[in-house]
């Protein structure tokens, strides 16, 4: 029964495919792939609809407001109203725009995000497309987002779009480094580039209580925080939403988009957020494993999606807290803090590995991470040279 509930979707798919007993094997494979695609799209489109309303409600609560509560019970039908509004809006293409590229940019933006969602294990035996080098594939398609952002910015023939796209390229390329370097320790310890194998490497419990998740090791915790920060940048979320900084760039690369193309950009941004959060869950938070041994009776996919929701809530929480930082601060953070810390994580993981994961290795890697962190804090803090600004008016 417990196992049945855990595998309910796998069993359902098996039943569906057993209707094709008469077909040749390659037809079954193709149909199986399409069933997976449909499932991933259905789940994440629903999640997108839900998060678009919950984000507004959470932000409202942070600011002591109610948030949307007019459409349907508790405002839950708000995405339907938004969707209808987006669909019936006029689709405006600027006269000077490169029309083909302008049309392709939103599609090129949303496709990699959906592709990236395919390699994440959502539960036991529930990876849509199990690829041996899944991690590599994830970051390869993830970096295609930069191209589509620049396509949108360039084809719009608008200075705001262009500036926004250039900022996007600058910050995304800079943060791709720490993002991928923080994944290295996990790949080193797990010894595989396959997301399923990485999740398996985090199985098991110490004394049946403490899970063997990578986030609970010193290098893992540091790498998780760095990965999370870098993923904020990669998904253009506050405080790194410079490419679409409303106060200076109208909406950045999305300035010249309206109607459903705009909605597609919006969707791509959220899909990117889901993908990168799902990857963070897979890499550091133990994937679909339960946090303690006796909670294993709850289906694995529930655990995955609860962890994903916690991360998504944190994304929204950060958006409700931090103001947008300047482009030079963003760049400085990437190259002077994130990158050295990411390499420190790699070294700490290596030390942990050669100490065979015992208590000594734990302490050693903690010492390495905290020493570098303290050192960097000292250096970067000292260089700041803050003083009271004296305003001089015309004399």
């Amino acid at each position: 029964m417990i196992n049945g509930l855990d595998q309910i979707f796998v069993i359902a798919k098996g039943l569906l495919l057993s209707l094709l007993w008469w077909a040749p094997a390659w037809v079954v494979q193709v149909v199986s792939a399409f069933v997976n695609i449909a499932a991933v799209l259905a789940v994440f489109l629903t999640l997108f609809a839900l998060i678009s309303v919950f984000e507004r409600k959470i932000l409202a609560r942070i600011q002591n407001r109610y948030g949307p509560n007019r459409v349907g019970p508790f405002g839950l039908l708000q995405p339907v109203a938004d969707g209808i509004k987006m669909l019936v809006k006029e689709d405006i293409v600027p006269r000077g725009a490169d029309k083909v590229v302008h049309f392709l940019a939103p599609i090129a933006m949303v496709a990699p995000a959906i592709l990236a969602l395919g390699v994440i294990p959502y539960g036991r035996n529930m990876t849509a497309f199990s690829i041996d080098a899944g991690i590599l594939f994830f970051f390869a398609v993830g970096s295609a987002t930069e191209l589509s952002v620049f396509m949108a910015g360039w084809s719009s023939n608008n200075k705001y779009s262009m500036l926004g796209a250039m900022r996007a390229i600058a910050q995304m390329v800079s943060y791709e480094m720490p993002l991928i370097v923080t994944v290295l320790p996990v790949v080193m310890i797990a010894g595989s580039l396959s997301p399923d194998r990485i999740v398996d490497a985090q199985a098991g419990y110490i004394l049946g209580l403490i899970p063997k998740w990578f986030v609970l090791t010193p290098w893992g915790a540091a790498a998780f925080l760095l990965f999370f920060t870098a993923s904020l940048v990669e998904s253009n979320r506050t405080p790194f939403d410079l490419p679409e900084g409303e106060s200076e760039l109208v909406a950045g690369h999305m300035t010249e988009y309206s109607g459903f193309k705009y909605a597609t950009f919006f969707m791509a941004e959220y899909f990117g957020m889901f993908a990168v959060s799902g990857m963070a869950v897979t890499l550091f938070l133990g994937g679909w494993h339960a946090p303690t041994a006796f909670l294993q009776f709850i289906p694995s996919w529930i655990w995955f999606f609860s962890k994903l929701s916690v991360l998504l809530f944190t994304f929204i929480w950060i958006r409700g807290t931090l103001p947008r930082i300047r482009i030079d601060q963003t760049m400085k953070l990437a190259w002077t803090f994130m990158l050295p810390m990411a390499f420190t994580c790699v070294i700490a993981a290596a030390v942990w590995h050669y100490a065979a994961g015992g208590i000594l290795g734990w302490l050693e890697s903690l010492a390495i991470v905290s020493l570098v962190y303290a050192g960097l804090s000292q250096i970067l803090g000292a260089r700041r040279n803050l003083s009271v600004r004296i305003y001089r008016f015309a004399e």
């Binding site: 609560r61 002591n64 407001r65 109610y66 929480w317 807290t321």
Partner: protein, 178 residues
Amino acid sequence: MIGAGILKGMAVTARNFIGSYFEADRLTTIQYPEERDKISESYRNFPFLVYDGDDPDAGLRCTSCKICEKECPPQIIYIVQDRDEKGKALKHPKVFDIDISVCMGCQICVEVCPFDSIKMDKSFELSKPERFRSLLLHKSDLAKSNSYYHEISPTQATEVDEALAAAAAKKKEKAKTP
């Protein structure tokens, strides 16, 4: 340490987020169509005509003296005096129109009225499907009873009633002792 300020800020927003579910006084929003805030007694927007008794037309205090029509800064009051069959002017308006699309709520008509006949209203839900004719209020739309006036601004209405009663008594006194 890098990041300490961020944690402090996150704690503040978390406190606000959780607090908004448990502390009712955090949410100051009044959800308008369902909940209504109390309107201050001194609030005013557009004028209306007061009538005594039950008949909204015969009971009008307005004597069609046209002072308000002359004083109105945007010139939005239009009055035609009523006449009987013989053509004799009556102390009653035949037409009394106010174009509230132009009214600026200055209350000068109320200040100048010698008969306490025109007063300021508090109804603000005045959206109309059409701009011109539906915002031009006629006598029948403007006439509202004295009890309504008591309802919306009790202090002023009582003062007005006392003043009117005192004036009537004085008049009676004068009529008695010529």
